[in-house]
């Protein structure tokens, strides 16, 4: 089987052949010549029309391709922007969360001693009073005041006074049990909360606290290191009573400890 010539080539050859026939004077009088001439011209016009059509169609094609490309680019760009926005926004949100945690910590902690502050203690006393009421298990509460603290500040300066308070706080923390709680009640006053603890056990714990403070080494206060001691008022919370009554009772006991010579515990 003979191979078919390429159609474009075949057409080209056909066109050349027809041109040659039309140009040949031998066929001038052929009755088919005029018809062939007209057909040949019509063919040329059709070819040109076809070429134009393809050009226009290609143009549209290109346009739509550019359009979809630019849409894809815009989409990618918006996506990147959105990711960036979310990233930055998340960072702000994180720093706000951390700030709020730090604020909460600052609101409940005494910055000098690192212990809970009065607000923290009040919250815990409320909680503990409710728990005591529910479970009918009393807790013990002690208020501690450092003896003659003002003289330390006056004699050695506030910085020395602050250092002394920090060490006292540490001594209290070391002396109490793991589940007891202490905090700075204000100035040189500390509060110790002993959950689910009867008075006689509580007394042993706060006695350890008193001794711990008495044994503290304050030789860093150069001239004539004074002996620092503390007085404590200890009481039991009776389930059902207002916690302010418990606090007042401990306060009263503390006053007694002060007036009866200091460096001691009065239990009521």
């Amino acid at each position: 089987m003979a191979t078919k010539p390429h159609p474009a080539l075949a057409e080209h050859e056909l066109v050349a052949q027809v041109e040659a026939l039309l140009a040949d004077p031998a066929h001038t009088d052929n009755p088919l010549r005029a018809a062939l001439d007209a057909l040949f011209e019509s063919h040329a016009a059709q070819q040109e029309r076809l070429a134009r059509l393809v050009r226009i169609s290609d143009g549209y094609h290109l346009l739509s391709r550019h359009h979809s490309q630019s849409l894809a680019e815009q989409y990618d760009r918006q996506l990147r922007r959105l990711e960036k926005l979310a990233r930055i926004s998340d960072r702000y949100q994180n720093s706000l969360r951390e700030l709020s945690e730090a604020l909460k910590d600052a609101a409940l902690r005494d910055p000098l001693t690192g212990l809970g502050n009065r607000r923290f203690l009040m919250e815990r006393i409320k909680e503990e009073s409710e728990r005591a009421g529910r479970k009918d298990v009393p807790y013990s509460l002690a208020i501690l005041d450092v003896d003659h603290f003002k003289s330390i500040n006056d004699q050695f300066g506030h910085e020395a006074g602050d250092t002394a308070l920090s060490r006292i706080a540490q001594a209290i923390q070391n002396a109490i049990r793991e589940y007891d709680l202490c905090g700075r009640w204000g100035g040189e006053e500390f509060l110790i909360l002993l959950p689910e603890t009867p008075l006689e056990f509580a007394r042993q714990v706060v006695e350890r606290v008193r001794q711990g403070i008495e044994e503290l080494d304050f030789t860093f206060l150069k001239q004539g290191a004074p002996r620092i001691t503390a007085s404590l008022g200890l009481t039991l919370h009776h389930p059902g009573e207002a916690y302010s009554d418990t606090l007042n009772r401990a306060d009263g006991a503390l006053l007694q400890a002060k007036s009866s010579g200091r460096n001691r515990i009065i239990t009521t």
């Binding site: 922007r81 960036k84 926005l85 990233r87 930055i88 926004s89 960072r91 702000y92 720093s95």
Partner: protein, 126 residues
Amino acid sequence: MNDLNIPGTQSTPCVTALREQGLLTMAGDSYPENSFEFFRDVIAWIETFLRDDTGPLRLELRLVYMNTSSVKAMMDIFDLLEEAHTQGRPVQVDWLYDPRNERVLDLADEFREDCTFPFRIAPDGH
């Protein structure tokens, strides 16, 4: 085109825009109830300045906290600057942060990404 002088509030930054100096400053927190409305004037000022003036534009920012829509507005602003920059207009951003709050440095750095114009991040007062 007027200069801008928007005093800061608790939730919106203080904004000043001086046409003579080609300087726009923003300082403070930004979490307006309607960010679109708040930033519309700022963005309009920048667009007008870039269109009607020929001088350089500098943004001096001391922004601290921003809500999400404010972040988006700032990204739009930086896009305007980027466009002007690619057309050869001198623009720059100086983002100043309180050295006690280094988080702002990281945040400003995130904003700077993709910006090809001069974008300086520096501790305030240096």
